[in-house]
Amino acid sequence: MTNRKVKIYPRFERIWHWSQMVLIVALLVTGMGLNGLHGLFPFKVAVMIHIIAALALLALWVFATFWLFTTGTWRQFIPRFEGLLKVARFYAFGIFKGEEHPYTKVLWRKHNPLQVIAYFGLKILVFPAIWSTGILYLTYNFWESAPDSGFWLEIIANLHLLAAYVILAFIIIHFYLLTVGHGFLAHVRPMITGFDEVELTSEQENYLTENEPWRLVDEGGEKDG
């Protein structure tokens, strides 16, 4: 077993992550304005940004879903309970005592078990909640003749709002956890360069050296992805 810098976030995944971040921030800020929490933008501008960002995000998610399934990366996001308790215990106690993070990245698991559960929940519950309610909200005029449409609109709008708040809470925690372990930059850098420290078995290392050498950083220096 060796610890090597390996490219684990391919270019699409990084573009996905950062454009998703920009779009979600735009949606949160304009959405809060539309909800009446602030008046940073004229309402009309906020509506336009919100709709355009939402449509862009939906398109991005379509690509991302396709990518996840065609590349098999979806497996990375399936929760497993192995090591979960250790990670949970670390965040609840160990971290205060200065312990090392109990999880080491391996090639087929680039997230720790708690992270996987959080991302899985986001992908399977929160994001579908926000986009399904968002689409229904946006297309209200197509179903307004349905019985009690006004009542359902209010339900949908409030679910949309709640989902948005869950995402905001997620962002707070997501951002905070960047400060854990080797620090903020150590967490952000892989999502920019694509390379991170991963524990490789010798078979994996051999395979990569033979077949995908561009995914490995030479001992001498870094290679850009």
Partner: protein, 555 residues
């Protein structure tokens, strides 16, 4: 040289016709004869000034009508069946409405005040509401709508007749101007399709003065700027009233009693004649351009009338409208028993408007007024004088019907007129009052006695009266549909989509942006706050731990 003389002559002629000419009434006080209104482009094939029938001196209005009818054989029949002549309207709600039937919160009622009120009747000599207007053809007033000389008018108290030579000193016209002798021959020869002045001379002065009644119909509309009315702007589209209020056989589209509040037909098929005065009949029901913003705005047209966004305020352009009329304080007289007047409202043009008159009570006025909004399906029911009222509540003079859940209802703007007016406190019904009648001993405006005035009004109307009266608060709603502003002046979204927006009085439906602290909103905020606190707490313990470990290492 002769060319120069011709030019000078032409100039003098132009000056003469285009400026008001001062005439002197018998007292010597000058009455100003209005100049001819701007010509309306016409495709008429007849020049009435060349007609032999009209080249004569007429002794009276009906004489002119006779001449008109000698060619326009069906016109009298058409006009006589119109609301302009009958003042009687069978509403879709089943009520008999029209000026001859309703009581409003302005001057109240026509019965017993005839010659004053019927000065704006589209006929001559209707001086008794107990009877239908005359069915003699010549009693239709053609000139009031078709005169294009600009100098036809009606005497303010003449039951529809024009002031003729010699004009009694002090006589006023329906617009409140000092009267001049009307030249009927000139009027008859000038006839054409109606201009804004023809309609406006009555409709702009409803309720006894400029813009008093409607709020969106004032003398400003004779020659409005684009900012006041994008359709009627004299330097813009320059619409006449009939451009929208299209007519067929002297009946006009557009009714305040049965409003076409939600026109889903749009423009109809090409070439299809539409008897409609709705915005949609020209602009379609999805009028905004096909852009993201346009689509979003079109999404509103099912629930929001065009007028709601496109008439941001009414009484624009410098003429105020009456917003409050309290009759109950009328009758207070000066130390010598003389009627008094107070002028405590300054209009934007500097004119002082009356806020108290012994004859009429207390008033309030408004300019650039934000409308009252309500869901409206177009149906209006009146509290007719025979109906029971509850005097402990504000009485709705006209009830506007509509609801959020009703697909035919949309949010409409209204002028809300707040009144306080006489009612029969024994029978709990709205009261008729006899206010005008300079020669009677009961008219309120000359005798200042409510008891007498109401009794006389009730008698004239043939209504049962208990003999007791009081005053009751009333609301009256006037749909706002004129004074459409340029698109750039339309309401911004946040005017409604906000915590304290224009629609904050309307409830029972979800309005995005109006309530960030809904249950879901509060739950979300609590969750985010808890998360932030949790994170802060976690971070604090980590920092403390780190510091302690450092100290331990140092030791």
């Amino acid at each position: 040289m002769s060319y120069l003389i011709k030019t000078v002559n032409a100039c003098i002629f132009l000056v003469l016709v285009s400026f008001p000419v001062a005439a002197v009434s018998e007292t010597g006080a000058p009455a100003t004869i209005p100049a001819s209104p701007p010509a309306i482009s016409t495709d008429s094939t007849a020049d009435h000034s060349t007609f032999r029938e009209l080249k004569q001196s007429f002794a009276s209005g009906p004489d002119v009508t006779k001449a008109c009818l000698s060619c326009h054989t069906e016109a009298d029949d058409q006009v006589m069946h119109s609301i302009h002549y009958q003042w009687n309207y069978a509403s879709q709600s089943g009520q008999q409405l029209g000026k001859s039937n309703v009581v409003n919160s302005f001057c109240g009622n026509v019965a017993s005040n005839e010659a004053r009120c019927t000065s704006c009747h589209a006929g001559y000599g209707w001086d008794d509401m107990a009877k239908a207007p005359s069915s003699s053809p010549e009693f239709v007033d053609c000139l009031v709508c078709h005169d294009r000389s600009g100098q036809y008018t009606k005497t303010a108290t003449g039951a529809g007749h024009p002031p003729l030579d010699p004009v009694r000193p002090g006589t006023k016209t329906i617009t409140g101007a000092l009267a001049w002798p009307v030249d009927l021959s000139r009027s008859a020869q000038s006839v054409g399709m109606p201009g804004r002045d023809n309609c406006g001379n009555c409709h702009f002065y409803g309720g006894g003065g400029d813009n008093v009644k409607h709020g969106d119909l004032s003398s400003v509309l004779y020659a409005p700027s684009e900012a006041v009315d994008v359709h009627m702007a004299s330097d813009g589209l320059n619409f006449t009233c009939q451009e929208c209020h299209v007519s067929e056989s002297h009946e006009w589209a557009g009714s305040r009693y049965d409003v076409a509040a939600n026109d889903t037909e749009g423009t109809g098929l090409p070439g299809q004649r539409r008897q409609a005065a709705t915005c949609e009949s020209c602009h379609e029901s999805d009028p905004h351009p096909l852009s993201l913003t346009g689509i979003k705005l079109n999404d509103h047209t099912n629930k929001v009338a065009c007028q709601t966004c496109h008439i941001p305020t009414y009484a624009r352009g410098g003429v105020a409208t009456k917003t409050v009329w309290d009759w109950s304080t009328a009758g207070r007289l000066g130390p010598e028993g003389q009627p008094i007047a107070m002028h405590d409202y300054t209009q934007s043009d500097g004119q002082e408007l009356h806020t108290y008159l012994s004859q009429k009570g207390d008033f309030d006025w408004g300019e650039n007024v934000e409308p009252y909004y309500a869901f409206f399906d177009g149906a209006i029911e009146y509290t007719l004088p025979g109906e029971q009222i509850d005097p402990t509540q504000v009485v709705e003079i006209n009830r506007i019907s509509g609801a959020y859940n009703d697909p035919d209802s949309r949010i409409w703007p209204f002028k809300l007129m707040e009144g306080r007016q006489a009612y029969d406190s024994g029978l709990n019904r709205l009261a008729y009052s006899h206010v005008w009648g300079p020669t009677t001993e009961t008219a309120f405006w000359t005798n200042f006695d409510w008891g007498e005035a109401i009794e006389a009004g009730m008698t004239a109307a043939g209504a049962e009266y208990s003999g007791e009266y009081g005053f009751v608060d009333t609301n009256m709603y006037w749909p706002i549909t004129h004074m459409v502003a340029p698109a750039s002046e339309a309401l911004a979204c946040a005017e409604c989509h906000g915590s304290d927006g224009r629609l904050s009085e309307l409830d029972g439906f979800y309005l995005p942006g109006s309530n960030p602290t809904s249950l879901a909103g509060l739950a979300g905020m609590a969750m985010v706050l808890a998360t932030a606190l949790g994170v802060a707490f976690h971070a604090a313990i980590r920092l403390l731990g780190r510091r302690r470990r450092k100290e331990v290492n140092h030791d």
